[in-house]
């Protein structure tokens, strides 16, 4: 998408092994200036490990990663000066006040005395903590803590931000507000790499990388992933005890894939209009009459589930 000069983050065949386990297994991608890149994947997929490598906290086992044009393995200090990082676990000092925390990180990042006042005000405003500057961080609610952590991470105006599951455990309205902040920063040209396990949040990203078992299994805009990851059309099947007929549906003509979604089934078919009545007939032949089959627009989650099972099938075929 971009060449090296424009890309703020370049990751090339990156591998991180812990013993014989590959937490990151040959991942490559690029992130441009002002782009919001989302990492989506289940817990343990390798998202945090990947972010930690890019922040210079872990050394890659193989491959190359450039952040702001600097190789993270060769000059991690150079990288650290240019990035902001929000770790998955809240890691500001609970026994210090809002402004004491910000001042501390301002000092560590060497924000000049002339600038620090304005930067502190900006961070406090952004986090919505005006009037609570002297409150101990331990007394703040989750959403405020996350925004304060973001404020601390951007105090030194980094060109690149790494946010590791910044919205986990935060209420929905705080999450929405947090994403607005992310987009404001991106509009100012900050490149942002953010991981999440909330599928709905992926829609807020410019591009999304789907990660599973340390591998990048898809990369594209949310729209691309929704529409093109699935080579077919999607049918939702609603009814009772559908788990028992999954195998039969999978064998039916024109059905490419079936997955459980809550109590419903989502079936990927070649032609929805053709297969919908056929499936209904199949279901009533098993005695299920109280079922509904209708076409739906695929969500990212559908794509993700399909891509994960497809990559597992490929891996199985190769093995």
């Amino acid at each position: 998408m971009q060449n090296d000069a424009q890309s703020q983050i370049v990751v090339d065949a990156l591998v991180k092994r812990f013993g014989s386990f590959a937490a990151v297994d040959g991942v490559s991608f690029e992130v441009g200036r002002g782009e919001v890149m989302g990492f989506i994947g289940p817990n343990g997929a390798g998202k945090s490990t990947l972010i930690r490598i890019l922040c210079g906290l872990l050394r890659p086992s193989a491959g190359r990663a450039l952040v702001a044009g600097i190789d993270v393995a060769q000059d991690p200090e150079g990288v650290r000066r240019r990035i902001g990082y929000m770790s998955q676990k809240f890691s500001l000092y609970s026994d210090m006040s809002v402004v004491e925390n910000l001042r501390f990180f301002g000092g560590i990042y060497g924000v000049s005395r002339a600038d620090i006042g304005a930067r502190l005000r900006f961070a406090v405003d952004m986090a919505g903590l005006t009037g609570r500057e002297d409150a101990l961080v331990a007394t703040l609610a989750g959403g405020w803590k996350q925004r304060l952590a973001l404020g601390a991470a951007i105090l030194h105006r980094p060109a690149i931000l790494f946010l590791d599951e910044p919205t986990s455990g935060v209420d929905p309205s705080s999450r929405r507000r947090f994403w607005e902040l992310i987009h404001t920063l991106a509009q100012d040209g900050v490149s942002i790499l953010v991981s999440t396990h909330y599928m709905d949040e992926a829609e807020y990203c410019h591009r999304v990388a789907l990660i599973n078992r340390g591998r990048l299994i898809a990369l594209g805009t949310p729209l691309e992933l929704r529409q093109h990851a699935l080579a077919g059309e999607l049918l939702a099947i609603e009814g009772n005890s559908l788990g028992d007929v999954m195998a039969q549906i999978r064998q039916a003509p024109g059905v490419l894939d079936v997955a459980m979604f809550g109590s419903a089934l989502h079936a990927l078919v070649d032609q929805a209009a053709l297969r919908s009545p056929e499936l209904l007939q199949l279901l009533s032949s098993t005695g299920r009459t109280n079922v509904r089959v209708h076409r739906i627009e695929p969500s990212l989650e559908d794509s993700f589930v399909h891509l994960v099972s497809a990559s597992a099938a490929v891996a199985g075929a190769l093995a």
Binding site: R52, C55, G56, L57, L58, R59, P76, E77, R80, R81, I83, Y85, S87, K89, F90, S91, L92, Y93, S94, D95, M96, E100, R103, F104, F105, G106, G107, I108, Y109, G110
Partner: protein, 378 residues
């Protein structure tokens, strides 16, 4: 290295110290407690040794001798036994440490042959006290003998001057009153500094790991040396305040004479504090739990300072191999310096060797601690 970052860490650390009552308590209360506990608890002086007497004769002479025992400050007469069995019992149950048995015919022998024999029975479970008690008992008896001899010579009309051909006139230097506390308190100061210094710094890095704040800290441009200086300088100040408290207690409360110079005292105290802070910091970096780090730091500083610094056991009395080990105990140099400063008032020149050793030690520990911290989660 940027001073700005050192300052940021210092401010943060100071705020956290002020807000954590536990570390403040370690910092200020524990030194006071330890000074009193160890200052009063440890005494090598032996006085008022409980004594029982079995006077089988009951003569003028035997009672005279026993009066000398009860008059001595080193013994306290607990009672008169009337049988050997009773003597045995009082030694067995610990009511007495020493028993003096005067045999029948004691005064007759003394008058006829000029030689009386007295039996002393000693409880030597505590060998140190027993040998001191034996010494004191001999001294009491010797002075009694001298008087008997004097009287008999005078009775025969002899001259008194010929009595003592050689006389020792001892003058005690440095600790004129022979108070063991004067010798122990400087060591206690060293021990308290070792404990407080290592305890304070052993929590610093481990706390960041435990609270999860380390992950963010290592993602910043902070340098290991800046982190160490920023974290240890506030504790160094607290340590020096503690040193002032300990030294003031030693001089004004325990009335240990101080004859050295204050600059020498504070310079060497600063060096020793640097050593123990760095040991604690190194442990804190290596062991990422606060409880574990504080235990190990205590083991590495308190134990050698107590046993191998010459604070409680004289180094030149140790086996050669153990003596060799004491050279790697920093407390050894500091205790030597402190004792010399307190009791001897030794000038700088004479302390050059231990001061240089301590300075080298401090330098080595700073390097070790500064290099220990790695900015990685691997």
């Amino acid at each position: 290295m940027k001073w700005r970052r050192v300052k940021a860490i210092m401010i943060k650390e100071s705020l956290q110290i002020v807000r954590d009552p536990r570390s403040l308590m370690i910092a200020l209360l524990i030194p006071l407690l330890q000074m009193f506990l160890l200052g009063y608890g440890i005494s090598l002086d032996v006085k008022q040794i409980p004594l029982c007497a079995f006077d089988r004769e009951g003569s003028q002479a035997s009672q005279d001798l026993l009066r000398r025992f009860s008059a001595s400050p080193y013994f306290s007469l607990q009672g008169q036994a009337t049988s050997y069995a009773e003597v045995d019992r009082s030694l067995d149950n610990g009511r007495c440490r020493v028993a003096i048995v005067i045999p029948t015919g004691f005064s007759k022998d003394l008058n006829n042959t000029g030689q009386g024999v007295v039996q002393a029975l000693l409880d030597a479970t505590d060998t140190n006290t027993a040998s001191l008690a034996a010494g004191y008992a001999s001294a009491v008896i010797a002075s009694y003998s001298a008087q008997v001899q004097l009287e008999s010579i005078q009775r025969r009309g002899g001259s008194v001057q010929t009595l003592t051909p050689v006389e020792v006139r001892a003058r005690v230097w440095f600790n004129e009153d022979l108070v063991s506390r004067n010798f122990i308190i400087p060591g206690v100061v060293a021990l308290v500094m070792a404990i407080v210094g290592s305890q304070l710094s052993s929590l610093t890095i481990a706390r960041e790991w435990e609270r999860g704040t380390m992950e963010l800290l290592v993602s910043t441009p902070i340098q290991p040396l800046e982190l160490m200086l920023g974290k240890l300088l506030p504790y160094f100040l607290i340590g020096m305040v503690d040193a002032c408290i300990c030294l003031a207690l030693a001089v004004f409360w325990f009335e240990v004479p101080f004859r050295g110079t204050l600059p020498a005292l504070f310079f060497t105290t600063g060096l020793f504090l640097t050593v123990v802070l760095c040991i604690g910091y190194y442990v804190s970096v290596s062991i990422r739990s606060q409880v574990g780090a504080s235990q190990v730091a205590l083991l590495l500083t308190m134990l050698p300072t107590t046993l191998l610094s010459g604070f409680s056991f004289p180094i030149d009395q140790m086996p050669a191999a153990v003596q060799a080990v004491t050279y790697i105990v920093s407390g050894r140099y500091y205790v030597t310096i402190l004792k010399a400063l307190f009791l001897k008032g030794a000038p700088w020149g004479e302390l050059l060797l231990p001061i240089c050793c301590l300075a080298l030690y401090a330098g080595a520990m700073v390097l070790l601690a500064a290099r220990a911290f790695r900015k990685t989660l691997d």
